[in-house]
């Protein structure tokens, strides 16, 4: 990616950020209609972080998104249809119904979705960064972790490893103020989580995760360092989980004032406003984009709902590579 951003970049970012918001609204609707068999997560408030960070990646970079990062999937090239089919546990999703939501891999797009165990993808991303180094690919591996998940041992082990081996790893802590019901005050006792970078001897940044330009600027620099052989970067992105933990959770434990404060910083609304104010996009373009997205999502829903569930017997196929 080249920085600064071009007009085309802004338009593209606008499309993705709006797409995420609309996609997640549709997921919540499907959830309320009992069309989703398991849990449903959204990344409300995290759109700028997930879209902006993935925007910095090349085709052959490795992406390991977490459960608030549907935006990153889209930016890396995944189709709305496939992600929708994933959420609806259909045979046409990339995981063929074996797992849901963002839990799948697409090797062509180099997207490797998470498993539920928090932190578990950081070592794997570190390993792809190692593979990149051994193969002299210049690919970076980008992954994420929550404020809560950053307590897990895998976080530490991976950063020690990536730092001492100078691996092209970028880890973004999505500090969205809560881990399920638990506020960050009960999870760690440090002003900035990016200060953990000091202990690993790597660059660390705390950024406004609702500002897509800031996200891109800092992630892009991290990519450059990684590609130049300068090792990993730790970025703490400050956001707000503007919904409950998952669709079943009303988040009554979040003080109203806090939620209202953060509504002012809504990354989608603010980005749109800024683009229009600065005349980077027109009102026409907005309406066009919105209707394009609506169409895409409607088609995806139709595609997914019309897709079959996998055949039961197929459960037994493919445990091993033959």
């Amino acid at each position: 990616m080249k920085f600064p951003l071009t007009f085309e970049d802004y338009k593209s970012l606008y499309y993705y950020i709006k797409l995420v918001r609309e996609f997640e609204e549709s997921i919540l609707r499907l959830y309320r209609q009992s069309k989703i068999v398991g849990g449903a997560f959204t990344g409300y408030g995290n759109e700028a972080t997930s879209v902006g960070s993935a925007f910095c990646l090349n085709k052959n970079d490795y992406l390991f998104p977490m459960h608030r990062d549907i935006g990153a999937h889209f930016v890396k090239g995944q189709s709305v249809k496939k992600i929708m089919a994933q959420h609806l546990a259909r045979a046409t999703g990339p995981a063929k119904g074996r797992d849901g939501t963002g839990h799948y891999a697409d090797a062509d797009l180099r997207i490797f979705g998470n498993i539920s165990h928090l932190g578990a993808m950081i070592p794997m991303a570190t390993g792809m960064a190692l593979a990149s180094k051994l193969k002299k690919e210049k690919s970076v591996a980008l992954t994420y972790i929550g404020d809560g998940g950053s307590s897990i041992g895998d976080f530490h082990e991976s950063l020690v490893m990536a730092s001492v081996m100078k691996l092209p790893l970028i880890l973004i802590i999505e500090n969205n103020q809560y881990a399920y019901s638990t506020p960050i005050s009960k999870q760690f006792n440090v002003e900035k989580l990016s200060d953990r970078a000091i202990g690993y001897g790597i660059p660390g940044f705390t950024i406004d995760g609702t500002d897509v330009e800031e996200v891109i600027k800092i992630t892009n620099e991290a990519c450059e360092r990684a590609r130049n052989g300068d090792g990993p970067t730790l970025i703490e992105s400050i956001t707000m989980r503007m919904h409950g933990h998952s669709a079943h959770d009303g988040a009554e434990y979040v003080p109203k004032e806090l939620m209202n404060e953060w509504k002012e910083k809504d990354p989608v609304i603010n980005f749109e406003k800024k683009l229009i104010d600065k005349k980077i996009i027109s009102n026409e373009f907005k309406i066009e984009t919105e209707s394009k997205i609506k169409k895409e999502i409607d088609e995806a829903i139709e595609f997914a709902l019309n897709s079959p569930f996998p055949n039961g017997e197929d459960a037994l196929v493919g445990l091993f590579s033959e």
Binding site: R98, D99, S116, Y180, Q187, A315
Partner: protein, 325 residues
């Protein structure tokens, strides 16, 4: 007698033990104000205070290790894994430190690890684990897996009073789906004792936890439809195993079906089969059969998960086959 939910039975048992012994404390993610992901400890923090109902960071190895340390220092921690699956992150602590404290140090380690367990709730590969086989193989751990509200309450109380580490496998599919009679009076269910949940004479089902109710259903169906009398042995405790109750049922019936929700291969059904062979070979009229989940991770999609899991029909078919041998 009042009929209560499985989940409420656990809550009540916990509550009573916390009232009884001030060294008992709850430790786990979101267990405080939120009352835990499944709301087992809802309301506890108001009554017992934040020093006895402690929200933990997301770090299962530290949680299990710290609870072990606190237990050795004289406390009685009751740890909640948010889902049983996440115990893998604290595996080393549990099998290396916790399990062997008494053997190596001759000190008690009264810790209870509550684990919302099992499949059938569309949880996918990482929210559906049955973890018993790993720990069943680890000397030094006790494991209980109640399938009724009565047993759940009686066993959580015994688990808390036990001076050894006890894994308490509570099936998450049962929380609000299984209800039965639970007396208001104080009682406990002894660790290490199985229970005959249905008397029968032709075939013994040996089961526990997630597949108990399906086993009973299948047993009732074959009795009604085919006149085959099936005894259902609910192990309740997996370690130490109640070998006596198994063997005496097998001696009576001569035919055995072992049923568990966990994956077949290397599940505890194998050990039970081996023990029956070692202890009651001459009483067997037919090969011991097993019904269990297939050897794959728990898939997410309903069609796949339903195919993968044991169920009443599969158990019924296996009983029917056995009855003809």
């Amino acid at each position: 007698m009042p009929i209560i939910n499985y989940i409420d039975a656990i809550s009540k048992g916990l509550w009573e033990e916390m009232e009884r012994d001030k060294n008992v404390f709850i430790f786990g993610q979101d267990v405080g104000d939120y009352g835990g992901a499944f709301k087992v400890t809802k309301g506890f923090i108001k009554h017992f205070g934040a020093e006895r109902v402690i929200d933990a960071i997301i770090a299962e190895s530290a949680i299990i290790g710290a609870a072990t340390g606190a237990a050795v220092a004289g406390m009685r921690p009751v740890v909640e894994m948010q889902f049983s699956d996440f115990v893998t992150n604290g595996f080393s602590q549990l099998v290396n430190n916790t399990a062997s404290i008494h053997y190596r140090w001759n000190l008690s380690c009264p810790i209870v690890l509550r684990m919302p367990t099992g499949a059938g709730v569309r949880g996918g590969p990482f929210h559906s684990r049955n973890t018993e086989a790993w720990f069943f193989h680890q000397p030094g751990l006790k494991i209980v897996a109640p399938a009724t509200a009565y047993d759940a309450k009686g066993l959580i109380k015994s688990a808390i009073r036990d001076d050894n580490p006890v894994l308490f496998l509570e099936h998450k599919r049962f929380y609000r789906n299984i209800k039965d009679e639970v007396p208001d009076e104080e009682y406990i269910v002894e660790i290490g004792k199985g229970d005959i949940k249905k008397i029968g004479s032709d075939i013994s089902i040996i089961t526990y936890g997630g597949t108990l109710h399906q086993s009973i259903e299948a047993a009732e169906k074959i009795e009604k439809e085919n006149g085959v009398s099936v005894e259902v042995v609910d192990l309740r405790t997996l370690a130490p195993l109640d070998i006596d109750i198994i063997i005496s049922s097998v001696k009576k019936t001569g035919k055995v079906l072992i049923v568990h929700e966990d994956n077949l291969t290397g599940g505890i059904g194998g050990e039970i089969s081996a023990l029956i062979i070692e202890n009651a070979f001459q009483f067997l009229d037919a090969p011991i059969k097993r019904v269990a989940a297939f050897d794959i991770p728990t898939p997410y999609s309903p069609t796949l998960e339903d195919y993968f899991l044991p169920n009443t029909n599969k158990i019924y078919s296996a009983l029917l086959n056995l009855s003809k041998l």
